[in-house]
Point group: C2
Chain length 395, copies 2
């Protein structure tokens, strides 16, 4: 993965943010409930899944944080193991009870708490365990974002947090991912904290701009979660920050977190990045990049480090709605050209095999049609993915 020096060696929180996590009995022993708290009101914005069956926390979250204008938050409470999706009116009421329980614990109103749940779909949320478990969590609040990241893990192999400085302020990202991931106008669970000062509408605009080339270009398995949520909280304790500089760091952090989530996709052994240039426009570049990234035959080729590069052309060629000219189509794997003018080059199999076996595999496609560009992030398809998902509910 690319090194971005702006990130702190060990993630820290911005001024005024802390978190805690606990086991409250949803999982056998692992932490399953996380509370993030800002000591003062924070302006907030969020984007949510476009899935037609949003989870109850997403339904409630859209009330709490309005698209376009944002909202005000004091806390985020999130549990793992059960996603509270496809649970009807009772599910929404349980999400409200979860907000109220957290609000009572921190001494705020319930409409300043964002709720998330992640895990199995279609199982009733054991709300009583959460209500009992949250009591006393303020006493556990501490300064390490990784502790919060741990409480929201499902099939993630490690907790995920990042932080970076921008002017006098700090931005901190905490996320979880792994499977059922092809966010669309939103993302998996991802929380961003900053002490920079921005109002809700500005935060909303900056968040959408940062999410577009990062989380929205991620796909582990083409399946769009019913719980996708990406929220940003800005408590203003560091004062104002240059907006362009903030957006650049915000986007860089979202992109880096996207790479971390892709690399830790269920069963993944490689981070796969697909860059497309020369498309008719950015929209067509997006379609081609996602087609190559999501092709099971491209993903298994990377997994097996098998130089079966004709599959790249197959995956470009199945974008029926796009302008594709075989005579101007070129392709590279980690900078090594394997296709020129729509034909497979007579390359050295051993070189391609070696480069495909690296942890990070960059596929580049040049279409020679226009100026459209896109970059998408994903992973290989492995037996581990099949194994994890053939018995997820039961395990």
């Amino acid at each position: 993965m690319s090194d971005t020096p702006a990130f702190h060696a060990t993630p820290i929180f911005p001024r005024g943010f802390r978190c805690a996590s606990r086991n409250v009995g949803l999982k056998p022993t692992a932490r399953d409930l996380t509370l993030f708290v800002s000591q003062v009101d924070a302006a907030a914005a969020a984007v949510f899944t476009r899935n037609h069956f949003p989870g109850a926390p997403v339904v409630l979250g859209r009330e709490t944080i309005k698209a376009g204008t944002g909202g005000t938050l004091r806390a985020v409470i999130a549990n793992s193991k059960v996603s509270n999706v496809a649970t009807g009116a009772t599910g929404v009421e349980n999400a409200r009870r979860m907000a109220r329980a957290a609000a009572q614990e921190i001494g705020a109103s319930a409409d300043k708490v964002l709720v998330s749940s992640t895990g199995v779909i279609g199982v009733r949320l054991p709300i009583e365990k959460i209500e009992a478990g949250v009591i006393g969590m303020t006493a556990d609040l501490q300064d390490d974002p990784m502790v919060g990241a741990e409480g929201i893990m499902t099939t993630d192999s490690h907790p995920k947090a990042l932080s970076a400085s921008v002017g006098n302020a700090t931005i901190t990202w905490v996320a979880k991912g792994s499977g059922m991931i092809e966010p669309n106008m939103a993302t998996m669970l991802s929380y961003i904290f900053t002490d920079a000062a921005f109002d809700g509408p500005t935060l909303d605009r900056l968040l959408r701009a940062a999410v577009k080339p990062s989380f929205n270009m991620l796909s582990v398995d083409t399946d769009t979660s019913t719980s996708d949520t990406c929220a940003i909280l800005a408590n203003g304790l560091a004062g104002s920050v240059d907006e362009a500089e903030f957006l650049a760091v915000l986007t860089a952090g979202c992109t880096r977190m996207t790479e971390i989530l892709a690399r830790d996709g269920e069963g993944a052994e490689h981070l796969l990045r697909v860059s497309v240039r020369g498309a008719l426009d950015d929209g067509e570049a997006y379609v081609v990049a996602k087609s190559v990234l999501n092709s099971p035959l491209v993903k298994t080729m990377v997994h097996g480090a098998d130089p079966n590069v004709g599959r790249l052309l197959m995956a470009v060629g199945k974008c029926f709605s796009c302008t594709i000219r075989p005579a101007t189509t070129d392709a590279w794997i980690n900078g090594y050209q394997v296709v020129a003018n729509g034909e497979r080059l007579d390359f050295d199999d051993a070189i391609v095999r070696e480069t495909l076996s690296r942890e990070v595999v960059d596929l580049e496609i040049a279409l020679g049609v226009g100026d459209g560009v896109a970059r998408a992030f994903g992973c290989d398809l492995t037996k581990g993915y099949v194994e994890e998902n053939a018995a997820y509910y039961s395990s």
Copy 2:
């Protein structure tokens, strides 16, 4: 799989059709070249892949058989192991040489020979082996369609042929499938032979009508082959046949062959059928059926017989462009209802586990929005798929 009594217990050819297959050195020992011959000129129609990188045989095939009007054929020659795709002008010239070699062997003109190649993309066709190997094949011509089916197998686990009667005529289907299969306006390699009498334009219309609800609703892995070809040859030796009756049997055979191809998808252990009803229109039903059929999380749920039925709602819900109303969405697995009004029912896990473990798994989705219907055919996602495709080129 459903029993359709119209099919013969052992597939036979219509009057005037025979075939032969041989090993000509493309594979180590298995048959790798097949020749189908009609003793008289046959009216013909064909549909081909919509992939932007069609194989050289598809480029040539579109010259031989015109969309809309069809053409005239005496023979089909097809090889396995190498697909002759992404091979440039030399590839097209090699396809022409293959047609000429077959034409010379049977004593016909080259424009009456349809050529197909299937196998690895981006490898030069060893045309000399085919030209030498086809010599003397007319002496091998015999009456068992399975012998022809054997010569076109790639990762298929068994050769595939069917036949059925319609009036005084016979229809015979010979196909291969397995991976890189989500046909679009065409199909994998599939040849249909009949002694019924139809002209080219009529055959073209009947073929397109039969392919639409069958081969075009098949997806093994969302990847659209660069070689997809479905051709029908009608030599007229049985005289005329009722057109409606012919179309019904033609469609039934294409549907049955679609099920056989899905069940033998790479690594597949289950045939998966997804029926959608109550969609806004047939177009939206198609999108939802394909979304459920292609969802890796639904496919692994079936593979693991894991009653994680919330994934059905996730896969329906990610059809962003469709009209989906959670309150009217119901779902069944092999007739057992698991979702009502967008909520997971409190069902018996053991029953769902048992029904998911059957060889054929029928998923039904009722959207309660309109009258649109669709049915799609696929298979589960297994470690076998990953294993076969991580080293296909090298094996």
